[in-house]
Symmetry: C2
Subunit: 535 residues, 2 copies
């Protein structure tokens, strides 16, 4: 029997089987059972319907993590509309493109963020912004023309709205890639894609209904890697964290007996730094698993999280376009056969029913020798349907080196186990005198220096070699590390052609909202009179 694979299946199961259990603990500590959450979702759906939102329309949300994020997502999807979460860390003018491209009819914003889009609101009449209804979490604070989120809920019925006929291949969400390079692209995932991704991802992170997830990773980033679906359907508990702060993380872990969190390596580093000086427990009563992804973590981070915090690392890899998760290090069998850190230092191999290849320029797999580099290409039901409004980009993404495979743009090696090491983004590889240099490998070595807090290695122009590696480094407070000292440190540990030929010390490095260092921006400083950013 065929039953469409919908994202709402996860909400429905939680409400049916865990209705009286706590589903979400809000930022302020308020607990909502799944029934209460569902009532709020239905109220919002009924408001959207009253405003004329139809199947296929878009509803945008500009918000840090919040129970209202989960509500808006399901309220939108259950009436067949597309949910469009916006990165809340952008500058006001950056929203023009996103709102124009996705043309939502309703825009909902966390109160602190309404100002970022207020200028769009004013253009409604003349320039023809698509948005017809503006909703702020706190309407009174947001001012004229904004509905208050709670008023909207209060004014509408908690009755389950009529759901339109949905096929599993209907669009569910548009997710703009935070992209370290280029313009934002709207990644379209259908119901089936997100449903299937949640199922396999939940398997690999071993979600059970007694799991309590702390929302350390941003929900707008691919709807929280799908945990809004998976953990909900399995009947677990969500603990909201609106703003990342290491002290609060440890507090909530202890207070709510958190068993699972996700975080980019930079997040883990901040937690480790805090933990070293603070006298706090690292877990509640339950053991903690932490899923890390989004950028290649320094090996030392992986070890310290396991050894010092006592958390189990699940290392994963993927992109907004791929569900996100397409690989996992969570293989006890391979860990038993080898060295644990050899395995979990890498983001692992293909998740269930996912195909991964590392291919050369001609689309042929490179040897699994842990050395030869190629591009990661993927096939699986969790891979995007298309880019919104960008048929050419879509075509290119599926037909570059290998037909019918999604091209991630990530450069990797793979080992005997077919486990990946992401060595670079396509554009982050430094080609110096014809030799490929993985900036990540060089960074890893730099991170081993005790005085280094954050580091990025980029290629800068070089007359002879085309490009040469340059390190941009933030040091620990009070450090007196000198340029030649750090270069020497790397030369003792790396082939000389890979070592930075210059080091610049900075107070901070620009990061994306998901904790990736924006190398693109850094490179631009050095390449700005050139036409391209590589030599």
């Amino acid at each position: 029997m065929k039953r469409p694979l919908l994202t709402t299946d996860y909400l429905d199961r939680a409400v049916t089987l865990y209705g009286d259990d706590v589903g979400v603990i809000a930022e302020d500590g308020t607990e909502f059972t799944y029934n209460e959450l569902n009532d709020r979702i239905n109220r919002l759906s009924n408001a959207l319907l009253e405003w004329g939102v139809e199947k296929g329309d878009r509803v945008a949300l500009l918000s840090p993590n919040s129970h209202r994020f989960i509500e808006t997502l399901y309220a939108t999807m259950q009436i067949g509309a597309l949910f469009v979460p916006l990165n809340f860390r952008l500058q006001p003018n950056e929203y023009d493109y996103l709102v124009d491209d996705s043309s939502p009819s309703v825009l909902i914003a966390h109160t602190g963020f309404t100002e970022k889009v207020d200028h769009l609101k004013e253009t409604t009449a003349e320039a023809g912004t698509s948005v017809e209804q503006w909703v702020a979490y706190d309407g009174a604070a947001a001012g004229e023309g904004w509905h208050g989120y709670e008023d909207v809920l209060a004014d509408h019925s908690p009755e389950k709205p009529d759901r339109p006929d949905l096929s599993e291949e209907d669009d569910a969400t548009i997710l703009y890639t935070s992209g370290t390079t280029g313009d934002p692209k709207g990644v379209v995932h259908t119901h089936r894609i997100q449903h299937y991704h949640a199922l396999i991802h939940s398997h690999h992170v071993e979600f059970e209904d007694d799991d309590t997830l702390l929302w350390t990773s941003p929900m707008f980033h691919i709807n929280g890697w799908g945990h809004i679906y998976g953990l909900t359907g399995i009947g677990g508990t969500h603990v909201i964290l609106e703003q990342f702060d290491p002290g609060t993380v440890f507090e909530r872990i202890a207070d709510h007996d958190v068993s699972y969190l996700g975080g980019a390596p930079t997040v883990l580093n901040m937690l480790l730094d805090y933990y070293e000086d603070a006298d706090v427990p690292s877990t509640g009563e339950k053991p903690v698993r932490v899923e890390t992804a989004a950028s290649p973590p320094p090996k030392s981070t992986i070890r310290e999280v396991e050894d010092e915090l006592g958390w189990r690392i699940i290392h994963a890899y993927g992109a907004t376009e791929t569900g996100p998760i397409v690989t996992t290090s969570n293989s006890q069998r391979k860990i038993e056969q080898g060295d644990k850190y050899d395995i979990i230092n890498k983001p692992g191999f293909a998740t269930l029913n996912t195909e991964i290849l590392v291919v050369d320029q001609h689309g042929e797999p490179v040897p699994t020798d842990d050395e030869t580099q190629g591009e990661v290409v993927v096939r699986g039901n969790q891979v995007l349907d298309r880019y919104w409004n960008k048929p050419d980009e879509t075509h290119r993404a599926f037909h570059d080196r290998r037909d019918g495979w999604f091209h991630t743009g990530d450069i990797a090696t793979w080992d005997d186990n077919r486990m990946l090491t992401i060595v670079d983004r396509k554009k982050d590889v430094i080609i110096s005198g014809g030799e490929n240099i993985s900036t990540i490998e060089v960074q890893d070595v730099i991170y081993e220096h005790p005085d280094v807090q954050v580091a990025a290695v980029i290629g800068v122009p070089h007359e002879k070699w085309g490009e040469t590696p340059k390190a941009l480094v933030v040091t620990e407070e009070g450090s007196e590390l000198a340029e030649d000292e750090l270069i020497e440190f790397t030369r003792e540990r790396l082939a000389h052609y890979k070592c930075p030929t210059s080091v610049e010390f900075r107070d901070s490095l620009p990061q994306t909202s998901t904790g990736k260092i924006q190398k693109y921006e850094l490179r631009e400083e050095f390449w700005d009179d050139e036409e391209k950013n590589v030599g």
Copy 2:
């Protein structure tokens, strides 16, 4: 991106990621890596192709558990043919119907079982049996006209055969229900159905790649509850057990560090009985989980398995038509909230993305009061596509009490948690003087008597009440339990109308191959001059 959900996805992942790891340990201890297994699968596929087997054709297998069962399944499915496993415990004449109904072009049999179908072989020419090729595990022993399985493999290439274009909605397998009542029906599952079932079932039994499964349950029974797919794809290890024997089970658990097994309650009881007298360890180095399903286990069995063997019980429910698994007791969250045994004594609530209702005659849900009885109806992607050659039966199954839901024929109550208790098969309910009596409830009480080994309660004709409960009992060796003594025992514990009015002691009771007592047969003895089997 859409990638068809196929059963072969699981084989492919095992071969790709675990090719050099042991996949199957055969009955005789031979270890096959997943690569070796795959070579054998490909050889068999190439033979089938040479014999003209095409997409949509059927290949039947008559075999107890064996690595060759796994091979034949995948060899058949990867070329788009339908795999038809036959119950190996039937009488020769019972195969006539199955072979006629499924009309396979190839029949493969374990050597010890070729005699059961030899008479069909002889009719090939005249009566037109569909079977064109006969293969015996040991061709020489089987005699004239039988290929030897190993010869066939040796004669064909291990190259991956061209796979036909398969859609996820193509048929994958026909499974004949062991049915406690009526004629066998061929249950058709598509690739998508079995793929999806394996995914959710693997989640609920928490399969990981370091799991080692001991094949205590019969593979022909819905292809081993789907473990042939799920555990394979996850990269675990299968340990074959050809013939159930408690001593061998404990030996293999210790030898191979088994972490998972499945078994009907009768299997668990035999293991408990053996364990009490034998001086053997109940686990290897790893903790053991045991999934029990197929008939409602006496509560005492559940407790003893947990407390004496120290195995974790996962109680599940389902039918050949439903994937099989549609409910699970594996909810740590509910166990934490209540009494562990209250939870795991029951087969639990709906698995992921599965809908279950217990409905009255009009198709409306009965109250969740743990008392009111109704029929279990199900919707989910793991539910059958149709009965083979039986459009009317298919229509009835989906449109009896509630349109569009599969009717299981099982009578259940459900509690506040929507957790089921299966009280009877539709035909097993005794209606005595207008009161419904659950034969299982009565049996449960009888099993509490220390002298009782096996018990079945059935309805027999009664002039005044229409039906009255009768107990058929096998006692422990040396017991002198008397009829009135046992009746008194039940009257102290049950409403009197539910108590047996007669008891008959027997040496054994007829069981199906999967350990269900064949009440249909028992009832027939008492109802044989009547037209129906209920009063």
